[in-house]
């Protein structure tokens, strides 16, 4: 039995090669139907998921902005920080006191006025692995600011703050290092992200006080707890945005969120997902049916040859194996071709949209798991259809099967 099956496999492969034109047609036909399906899957898990992860991962969608200036104390922040749906929270100083003029150290050119944004470890706007601004000596620049200044990570800056005291304009400066750059899609305006200490120092100087840490002169600061105008707040997930908003509204604070936009995109995502699955199911069903029908018809075409093998004593299992081997070859070659075509098309699509994509984002992404699933499904359907057809051929009496007309 074992040797018979080896013989049958050999015969089957020989026939497949002998009829190579026919075989090529079958392989092409299979690939032609499978490739668009794979591309559809690639788009779903590239484009749709890129949009989804942008939505979920983009910290701007999780941001809750304070709209009007408040008077928020450290206790107030401590109470809010105790909630477990908060990813990042820092107090904001008054907007009017949160600006600085920067220029590259030792240069008079590229003087740039930037807003100061409180930041620290865990700031969701900072790129992965970037160093957070620390103390009074470093800042993180937005890409717009870095461009305007013509500096990069590690460069030195001179930061200047001005104030008007009793009608006289005063200025103070300090030396700052660039710790990191925040990409444009995270923060578009020219800005410097500064640690709370530097934020407080700038506010104090503006208010006319001295800043001992930076040797900035001024009046002595009275020993009263600082009161903040607002906050930088990021919810842990987009789902936490709405509850946090309601909580803050309940505290009498007016805030702005992306909650409405999030809901719209989610609804769109759900409908797109449903449409995708409808198309995928229809496409897959059609694909498997056409594959099965093709292979079935192919066995029908070979009834005479199979009948001769039957007459020569090849058992039922061998007669089923014969078309199964060819179907397997067709399935594997067709799926490989479809995979290559999909990779090529995906590369093309991704290049077309490269400009509107961030690093690591793809419009068309064929996942290995999906491809393997497609190959497995194709093989299973091909083997089932051809084995069934082979079984049916084996039921024909050899004398009938070998009759030539």
């Amino acid at each position: 039995m074992g040797t018979t099956l080896v013989q049958v496999t050999r015969l089957s492969v020989r026939d497949f090669l002998h009829e190579w034109r026919m075989s090529v047609c079958f392989v092409l036909a299979l690939a032609a139907v499978l490739a668009p399906l794979l591309i559809l899957f690639g788009l779903k898990f590239g484009l749709v998921d890129t949009l989804r992860s942008r939505l979920i991962e983009d910290p701007r969608n999780r941001e809750i902005k304070s709209v009007v200036s408040g008077r928020l104390t450290r206790d107030w922040f401590a109470a809010l920080e105790a909630r477990d749906d908060i990813a990042f929270l820092l107090p904001r100083t008054r907007a009017i006191a949160a600006t600085m003029t920067l220029r590259p150290a030792g240069s008079r050119a590229n003087v740039t006025r930037v807003e100061l944004v409180p930041s620290g470890p865990g700031d969701p706007l900072l790129p992965e692995g970037a160093t957070a601004p620390d103390g009074l000596g470093t800042v993180v620049l937005s890409a717009a600011a870095a461009r305007a200044l013509g500096v990069g990570v590690g460069d030195r800056l001179t930061g200047n703050v001005t104030r008007v005291v009793e009608g006289r304009r005063q200025a103070a400066g300090t030396d700052l290092g660039v710790a990191a750059i925040v990409p444009d899609h995270r923060f578009a305006r020219p800005a410097a992200f500064a640690a709370p200490a530097l934020m407080g120092a700038v506010e104090d100087y503006r208010d006319g006080f001295a800043v001992p840490g930076l040797d900035w002169p001024g009046a002595d600061k009275p020993d009263a707890p600082r009161v903040y105008a607002g906050f930088r707040l990021y919810a842990a997930t987009i789902d936490a945005v709405a509850p946090l908003r309601d909580h803050l509204n309940g505290l009498g604070l007016e805030v702005r969120t992306q909650a409405a936009a999030i809901e719209t995109v989610r609804a769109l995502d759900r409908s797109l997902g449903a449409v995708f699955w409808v198309i995928a199911v229809i496409g897959l069903t059609g694909y498997l049916l056409s594959l099965g029908a093709n292979l079935w018809a192919n066995v029908d075409r070979k009834t005479r040859d199979l009948g001769i093998l039957r007459l020569l004593g090849v058992p039922t299992g061998g007669l089923m194996l014969f078309p199964v081997v060819q179907a397997g070859l067709t399935a594997v070659l067709g799926a490989a071709l479809a995979g290559l075509a999909t990779l090529a098309v995906a590369a093309l699509i991704n290049r077309m949209f490269a400009t509107s994509l961030a690093e690591g984002e793809l419009v068309c992404r064929l996942l290995a798991a999906h491809y393997l699933l497609a190959v497995a499904g194709t093989l299973a359907c091909a083997v089932a259809a051809s084995a069934l057809a082979g079984y049916r051929a084996s039921r024909i009496e050899p004398a009938e099967g070998t009759r030539d007309v």
Partner: protein, 255 residues
Amino acid sequence: MPSIRCPWKRCLKEVSAPVYQVAELSKARVQAGSGFALSVPELTIRPGERVALVGDSGCGKSTLLDMLGLASSPDGAGRFTFCPRGAPSDIPSLWRDGRSNDLGDLRKHHIGYVLQTGGLIPYLTVRQNIDLTRRLLDLPDDGTADALAERLGLAGHGAKLPAALSVGERQRVAIGRALAHRPPVILADEPTASLDPETAKTVMALFLDLVEAEGATLIVATHDRAQVGRLGLRALGHDLARDPAAGLTRARFWG
């Protein structure tokens, strides 16, 4: 199965039972408007016998040969045993029980069949076609196929595909394939029908020589009565009755 070390000729001396023992065998072929009924009241074929089924076209030679070749199921049989070597097999019960793999095994080991229509495998070369019956039995490549091809005048054609052969050459390949695995029973359906009379004579004589050399049992279907006498075959009894009114043809073979 006896191993190939025990050539069937030796087994034959031990087993004197007839290769075929048939009684009350029948098969009807009915198609819209016309019918054909074949019956075999009694038929015994002994080992080494050379038998001819002679009759006009459409008299049922192929139908009977297919049944004897275990390639077609009888409608009914009082008795139908096949005993090429060793123990006899009850063929109708194998058909009835759907033991198609057992029937296939019997065909593979014991029968060489030259089909009326050749029945070559189009994607195998001449040599591979001849060798196929040996391959399926896992017999060693001992030069048998090449020797047969040579004797059948196919020496230069070994690497050709059947499509590149003349009809007569194809017929000779079919003969080679039926003989290559040295079966004890050889069935041939008009093996020389598509050849010109002179070549037909040569090929038929060659075929019988080869069968003779193996000592195999032979059953040939032919419409050529002259051939039967010339080659010393035992012709089976045959009659044919046509009933135009009922659109029915009744054929009988016996002997």
